[in-house]
Subunit: 355 residues, 4 copies
């Protein structure tokens, strides 16, 4: 493993792309080599124009001049020329389905932020209706993909060539539930309820009726009830059946942040200490998870940090728990988790550049 690496980000024009650019530009291991930035693969005009990064994301202008870095038109030649080792794709999932096989063939390691390669089970992938679903190439690529949640798959990520960076909702829920389910504590007969709420940046940068200020502000709405695309990640990563979990996302009138309120019933009564121990043990080597003991996480504590924050309350009889899990959907739910994966892949400290 080398301690220098050349990175590139395709799709830097979106919200997660901006945060990824910010993190990479400040990463202590990457200072010597400026990342290569490009727009989305279909944004050729932006790329050709040679727009400076700060022209797209004005807040990234700074006196070191890193905001002056120009967005490049994407091409494989560009990546070769600049000696890119690791490619971040912040592109729509159909684009990732098309380009990742070629990137791997060209010897690049890929961290894909889309939903293209997160799901092993074809049944769970069905909701995406990928164009190349079932092709030999797609199956071979999927077989290489590692779900990019270091807290669960640190070892496999370290040697992966394709990391499928998790969904934002999935990250908040899997981290909260996996330790308890893996420990065999949860009574699945009664099902788990995951009531999740996300800020508007989770809906992407495209102006739509639902991202209009007048729709989102002073409002709260549930959506994709029983049908959200992240459900498959929950099933595969937590290890439960579809009937075991009810997941309802809501659109919050805030720019960023996710809070998931998760309801479980235990097979046997638990104590505060017994649950804390399960979490502490599970996350003992995980610097990007903060366990709350005396209070519950809130969105304001997690947002603009790279942490997943987890806390809980027990019912009087120890039979039920309400778990609260918070993170920043653009950071631990997207770009900082991508950098965390890079750190793991490079053998660097997992939290480097993230605090």
């Amino acid at each position: 493993m080398t301690s220098t690496v050349q990175t590139a980000v395709i799709g830097v024009t979106g919200y997660a792309g901006a945060e990824l650019a910010r993190l990479l530009l400040r990463h202590p291991r990457l200072r010597s080599a400026s990342p290569v930035f490009a727009g989305r693969i279909d944004e050729k005009d932006i790329a050709h124009g040679g727009v400076p990064l700060a022209g797209i994301h004005p807040a990234l202008a700074d006196s070191t001049g890193s905001g002056d870095l120009k967005l490049q038109p994407f091409s494989w030649e560009l990546l070769a020329e600049r000696g890119v080792d690791v490619l971040f794709l912040a592109t729509p999932h159909e684009q990732s389905r098309q380009w990742v096989p070629e990137a791997l063939a060209r010897g690049l390691r890929v961290i894909d932020l889309s939903g293209a390669w997160r799901l092993n089970d074809a049944a769970n992938r069905a909701i995406y209706a990928f164009e190349n679903e079932g092709s030999a190439q797609a199956d071979a690529t999927q077989a290489q993909a590692v779900y990019g949640m270091p807290e669960l798959h640190r070892k496999q990520i370290a040697r992966a060539h394709l990391v499928a960076n998790p969904g934002c909702y999935a990250t908040s829920i899997v981290l909260a539930l996996k330790p308890l389910v893996a420990a065999g504590l949860v009574d699945l007969n009664c099902g788990i309820v995951c009531d999740a709420k996300s800020g508007v940046s989770g809906a992407g940068k495209a102006p739509t009726a639902k991202t209009h200020f007048m729709y989102a502000a002073d409002n709260l709405s549930a959506y994709s009830v029983f049908t959200h695309r992240h459900t498959g990640e929950l099933l595969e990563q937590i290890g439960v059946d579809a009937a075991d979990i009810t997941f309802t996302p809501h659109l919050l009138p805030i720019p960023r942040g996710i809070l998931s309120t998760i309801y479980v019933r235990f097979k046997e009564p638990q104590t505060r200490g017994s649950i804390e121990q399960v979490y502490s043990k599970f996350f003992a080597a995980s610097p990007m998870v903060r366990l709350y003991k005396d209070t519950l996480p809130q969105i304001q504590y997690s947002v603009r940090t790279s942490y997943a924050d987890i806390g809980f309350e027990l019912s009087h009889d120890g039979r039920r728990a309400v778990i609260v899990s918070c993170l920043d959907n653009l950071l631990k739910g997207a770009s900082s988790q991508a950098v965390q994966n890079l750190n793991v892949m490079q053998g660097w400290g997992e939290a480097e550049g993230l605090e």
Copy 2:
């Protein structure tokens, strides 16, 4: 029953008081007799000052001059002098506990917006630690109290002398659950989850660390997990045990509105039609409940209306439902429900003055 009535509002200075004043001033049956307005019983200075209503709530100024009505110092003499028939108390619950017995003794009918008289079961009242809990007078008063949710107790409200106006969270949850539980559809063994979210006006007008803009804005937080005071209302009105229901309130970064997301499991698989029928039948005579068929309620549709809005989604197998219940916490969750109760008590149209 008379078609004219003299009303008074004690505690008009708070948020619910302002909405109550607005509704009473515009109520078609009350135009001939201006309501009597007073501050909270402990706000003697405000009252003595003869502050005009619009001095407290500037938005209530209008060209008809109703904003010029002066707040009066509260006294029993004032009420007698003005010939008050119906007294609205928008006062803290301890004050309501003290004053309601006297008001009843003086022959007034009372609609109390506080939590003072909502709970029949002393165990459920324990959380309030009322000063006069267990006194003969308090017990006698409680025995007269009717829970002021017309959709459940219309007949008793019509002849009540003391109406205990429901809590805002309780209204949103009881209306959504009562029809299903009463119909015997819900599997209580697995418990019901009520994940509720409220705007900041629910926390009252007193400036506190939690109502500070910097705490509430861009944030979401769960609070009073397993311990919220409205839980007793849920148990008594829905008719379930404490172990059957988990209720988690959250503080939303919006001024007003409640959305409750409610998760139930059914004993037998249901269809969309079977559930719709249960609701339609239950609310057939209830003008202030709107049932949603093609979409789910959202806070923006309910806020600044006097309606409770209910919609739901069924899981593929018909075994689970996610019910979404929305209302304006200051209206159907407080003041418009109080006026609805007045309408029922007077024998007027239940929706009069509320649309």
Copy 3:
């Protein structure tokens, strides 16, 4: 003048259209005849679909059934069939330029909410680049148009066939400045500064980069500096030259409301009393203007009311004033002013249906 009138609204799908529908449905003089509602002239699909009003604006559903009124496909035949007397156009300005001449030819009276007919001076209209600018028909139509601000042009509105309803920013600024300028108090040599701030609904319902929640929330931005289209209205209605006034609009992170902070210098020192007198006299017969004496208006006091709110502070030496003018851009800045114009045209009380 008749006391019954049949109204129609074209363009009811937008934000101002929704408020206009709400006002007309509740107007005491219009209860006998349901207004005719249509989508924008280019929204033929919506119209043909027979969508109920509450399908577009869910908050308009109520137990009286007025939300069930179906949107009609627009046609002149429809208007004739339904006996429409007064046509409200809540359409883009190019559409109003095209349709108003025909409406007048058909004998309809028109209240146009767009910027199509507000400006008498061709130089001021240049910024709109109207397609039919300079045509004989357009000139003749413009000659009939009355600027629909009852506080300035009550008499002409009463007998107008075409009322050009004012712009939202213009309403807030003209009402604050006209009394002082007309009284000859303002020193124009130093210019007037109008620093105006508007909620996002002023930018319309179309999802754009600027109406995206992520752009507007937690932000404030100035726009159209020295170039905003409402400037012409200021010049013509206040009676000043372009060099005399600097108008800067800003986009506020709130749904609705305008606050304009206006800076003037006086030729001679003034007292609080002298300025109050000028305003009181000017607005003596104007029920929809509220003058603030002891405090300044704020957006929260004006929003969801049909009033324009005006207050001011004087400098110590009486030489300068800061005037604060607030209104709801969708009401006094659009739809309630349109209904106010209808009241004036019909000889009804100017405030009827607006409180």
Copy 4:
């Protein structure tokens, strides 16, 4: 000048204190020596309790453990023991008036974030009504104070023992106006208008009626018209008379950020280039000012950065300009400017630790 320095922050519990702590903990020159943190001088209980920093500001918890640093009870002995060189006071101005003389006597260098020592002219200080106003000690202290705006007073700050860190509004306005006024371009006869808007954090952490979410949200209000305490800083630092400038602050419904819209008239017509040159020259050596050429600053670009952002538009005739100046009131308006002053005092790069 030494390259290591021991710092202490008194008043770390407030909003500016939290940002200051964050900056100092991450400052590359300060990593070897943890800053000493204490509550406000009157918060002895917090200090004695040994509360960890993250207990007050949960977002400051991180995996490096810096959030575990305990708040100390303030005492001069503590500062001596820990070898403190530079003392940051994030305390109310009366406390700073009392404690700064003693700190200087003990040989400490002080950066005071309050308004205690910013004003040279007793007439301008009158609004504060300082208890020790006019005492010999206070006068001697004031004589040592340097106004801590490096862009204006870099050299004096470098050798100062007492730096009076500027007010947030004053920073945004002085930086925008000083270059133009100093260049003699501005026609003061007509006065300058400064219409400034600030997020709620500027009002401090104490819960009050004005910081209540229900007051600030969905609202905009002007306050302290003609009477704001920062006016004196404008006069002294820009070098104008009270009659030359009108400054109106407004409370924005956002957590943080200031946008000032500033209106000037020029003695002679200007071009875009002539104004750009004046600014570029003035800020040539100032890394923390960003000049905007093709667009105007917005709050969202400046917030959570340490920059002051300045842009402008000229009227067609070059006689008037609208200048837009943005910054984060907690950073360039408070804590990052304090660190910038530390950098200047230490001879470090002015932008170190601020990007």
